[in-house]
Amino acid sequence: MNLTLHVWRQSGPKEKGRFVTYEARDISPDSSFLEMIDVVNERLTLAGQAPIAFDHDCREGICGSCSMMIDGVAHGPQHGTATCQLHMRKFRDGDVIRVEPWRARAFPVLKDLCVDRGAFDRIIAAGGFVTASTGGAQDANATLVPKVAADAAMDAAACIGCGACVAACPNGSASLFTAAKIAHLGALPQGQPERYRRVESMVAQMDREGFGGCTLHGECQEACPKEISMDVITKMNRDYLVAQFQGGESRRAGGGTG
């Protein structure tokens, strides 16, 4: 099949970007979207032009590297699918496709379609964990976890950290990402001791990184390749509210130091 691509090209973080048009000819409908870009890149290289930089790694929809805005939709037209698992047979011969990087204040463009998602790591570092240093853990079956709780935790933990939720949100909010981790750990007994401290510090970090606020548009859950429900945001908001009423975890009597 033959396609026309309008691709965002930007040579560096501080450079000005622009759309450049490329013809992608004789593309196999069985190739993935990234394989289509591979083909275009090989041709660009041989023609003496700079290939398009884009993040990718596992190409199985689990590492969360790939991050393309395709015709204005994060990860493109197929629901619940990361760009790497999107195949060209979902397009028609002759289609004109616009490809852009994630657009968000907290995700600066590094080059072409690559953005810096380091803010996500810093949100996790702020509290997205259970404090359990190696060694000394009790027997794994000593803590019973109801199946429904384990399933709910797993639903939220399926997040691949790709950032599509931020890119899709008109506010550039990281609420779905942050709340998914809070909901995962909050559903489990192991996550309880740090529950309110966690929500406070993660939300504070989210704000520091320059993500926008959540106004419950719901674009995030539509864009999420793992179909994480925005119910997790409700859970985060509830925990946050409780934490505020309690006057902050560190100031609560008997709260300990975590």
Partner: protein
């Protein structure tokens, strides 16, 4: 100078030596630990768990990964599960049985002492991961659930849906991020290790490239740990992530670390076949599908009819025919070779005749479509997404693909390579899996090394080593930086007519043909002639666009492919010298009268450890003999 190959396995009964060794090892005073810097390269299960644990102990840790976040290391893609000898199912499991299954599954080419220790600490891993909040599958009563996996008669595999690797990695990643937040680990994402620095015979640092700015930087340390994964991408097409590479271990090999059993690769039988030349990687379809799917090809060569039009009498259910007792659930190496055989005979299906059918029609008839959907719905959906074919109405097409490498840098019992101070963990070392890894054991080994073995043994090394003060002003760092700069210049100035991927694909085809599922003396010798020719062409005619002072993905790839070229040659050499068949290594000359792998324990019960002798010189092989005192050597049979 001959390399010293001492496995340093403590004496004593196998079940006691790890406990005794832990007591005998020297400790570093808690207040002194912060004076020592440890570099950890790689942030997968092994690297992230090691970096987090070392930081918790008080060491200063620098951790490096080429991905944009440590959470994206390729451990994330592991599906099935993680083994542990918990015996929660009361079905007769024990540390000894997991030890036995792993040694036997590895076709008796692993070290008994290491495997026993792995089985021992497997139980601690599950405890640790649960404490971190890893959402393992549960029974209604709240206890942990288990499933069965190949090569075992007990149910000892713990899992988190089909995303066990992801959840275990996120557990380790979160522990790592906690240490980063506390300032105990300095994390360098999008940073690739390009060389190891050895000073006075001891590993003292690395040189890296910042993949955004292109800046070359030196980092000094008291010990270096590589947890950089396997080298399956030498075949170009594999189930590995696109970025997975051998550069870190290959650079270390060239600086004196012996390479163990490079030819031991695992080829997984059930992957989605290649659909054309555009193919960039292969996707695994879980082994569990073979519980209900039947594998077949047409009896006649070149039968191009649609599968539904091939009558029952004209189909060959070859696994059921050849292995009546195991049938479609024959082990990975056996099933892979059988698929290759029928395709070589011209009976393969799909594009290029490189595929066999995995047919669920009988199972759907017997159990109903709903039952099959309940069991495999997500896998069927993934298959449909990639191939555009509906596996409920048309049999899946599958073909074997490179999946894992059992070979890697040789390490002693303390996980230290032949370069003092350089430790190697996870898939990057030559590992505890012998010649064939059992399903659900890769995750176990990565976390065992990172959480529970390396943190002890590295303390013993540091406490016992007399390390002079070294910083990055040392001439050895300048030398390594200059060598990297020269190599980079060469890539950029060649301005040839072919892309890096072109050469990588060509190398992959050679390796698949001559060093893949069936290896012959003649084929390996052919490969050893063709690889250097192709490598020479690569250096003469490769086209690497752009500059070194920017994000340049072609330049990154060029460096990795250059190293794959050299490693490929070593793999063929190793496969050539091992004139026996064992596990994933099948030498056509060494088979039983009915075509099964035939081991030669008299001549080949050893680990091959290859030593680099310099540019243009043939490497030399050293042998570490393997002793089996606890597991009886026996021929495997699945008839």
């Amino acid at each position: 100078m001959m390399m010293e190959l001492n496995a340093r396995i403590p004496a004593g009964p196998v079940e006691k030596i790890w406990d005794e060794h832990r007591f005998q090892m020297k400790l570093v005073n808690p207040a002194n630990k912060r004076r020592y810097t440890v570099i950890v390269v790689g942030s997968g299960l092994a690297g992230a768990s090691a970096a987090a644990t070392l930081a918790e102990l008080g060491y200063q840790v620098k951790c490096f990964c080429f991905q944009d976040s440590p959470r994206r290391a390729h451990s994330i893609a592991a599906q099935g599960g993680i083994n542990a000898a918990k015996n929660y199912q009361n079905d007769g499991d024990s540390v000894r049985r997991l030890f036995y299954d792993t040694v036997k599954g590895g076709d008796f080419r692993a070290r008994e002492a290491n495997v026993y220790r792995l089985a021992q600490v497997s139980v601690n891993i599950i405890d640790q991961c649960v404490a971190q909040g890893v959402p393992f599958a549960r029974e209604y009563g709240g206890l942990l659930a288990n499933r069965s996996f190949g090569g075992a008669q007990v149910s000892r595999t713990f899992y988190a849906r089909g995303q066990t690797g992801q959840q275990l990695l996120l557990g380790a990643y979160q522990a790592l991020e906690r240490q980063i937040g506390l300032g105990a680990v300095q994390m360098y994402a999008r940073t690739e290790m390009l060389d190891l620095v050895v000073i006075d015979g001891v590993a003292r640092g690395i040189v890296t490239r910042d993949l955004i700015s292109g800046k070359i930087e030196s980092h000094a340390a008291d010990a270096v740990v590589l947890g950089t994964g396997g080298y399956g991408n030498v075949f170009y097409l594999s189930t590995n992530a696109k970025g997975s590479n051998a550069t870190a271990i290959w650079r270390a090999y060239k600086k004196g670390a012996a390479f163990g059993n490079p030819c031991f690769t695992q080829i997984h039988p059930t992957c989605i076949p290649q659909s054309g030349d555009h193919q960039s990687k292969l996707t695994l379809m879980s082994e569990s599908l073979r519980n209900d799917g039947r594998v077949w090809v047409p009896k006649a060569k070149g039968d191009a009819r649609a599968p539904a039009e091939v009558p029952e009498a004209e189909r060959d259910y070859y696994l059921e025919r050849k292995y009546p007792s195991y049938g479609n659930l024959s082990p990975r190496d056996i099933a892979s070779r059988a698929a290759k055989e029928v395709c070589d005979e011209g009976r393969g299906v799909g594009p290029g005749g490189l595929g066999v059918y995995l047919d669920f029609a009988d199972a759907i008839k017997r159990l109903g479509r709903d039952a099959i959907e309940e069991r495999y719905g997500n896998l069927f959906e993934m298959y449909e997404r990639i191939t555009g074919e509906d596996p409920y109405t048309r049999p899946m097409r599958i073909y074997p693909a490179v999946h894992y490498t059992m070979g890697g840098l040789w390490v002693d019992y303390n996980l230290m390579s032949t370069v003092p101070g350089l430790h190697v963990i996870g898939e990057a070392n030559f590992s505890d899996h012998g010649a064939n890894r059992l399903g659900a054991s890769a995750l176990m080994q990565g976390l065992a090394d990172g959480y529970f073995i390396l943190p002890y043994t590295i303390g013993n090394y540091i406490a016992g080593a007399k390390l002079a003060k070294v910083d990055t002003s040392h001439a050895a760092f300048r030398e390594a930086e200059a060598a990297i700069a020269a190599r980079t210049r060469r890539f950029l100035e060649t301005k040839g007519t072919k892309t890096v991927d072109h050469f990588h694909r060509a190398l992959g085809k050679l390796m698949w043909e001559y060093c893949g599922m069936a290896r012959t003396e003649a084929g390996l010798k052919t490969a050893l002639e063709k690889i250097p020719v192709l490598r020479e062409e690569f250096w003469r005619d490769v086209n690497v666009p752009g500059s070194d002072a920017e994000l340049n993905q072609a330049l990154e790839k060029a460096g990795r492919v250059a190293d794959f070229f050299e490693l490929a040659e070593l793999m063929c050499r190793d496969a050539l010298q091992r004139r026996e068949s064992c596990g994933g290594h099948f030498r056509v000359e060494s088979q039983t009268p009915d075509g099964e792998a035939l081991r030669d324990d008299v001549n080949f019960a050893f680990v091959a450890a290859w030593e680099y002798l310099g540019e243009g010189k043939a490497p030399v092989m050293h042998k570490e003999p393997l002793q089996f005192e606890n597991v009886h050597l026996a021929q495997r049979s699945y008839k």
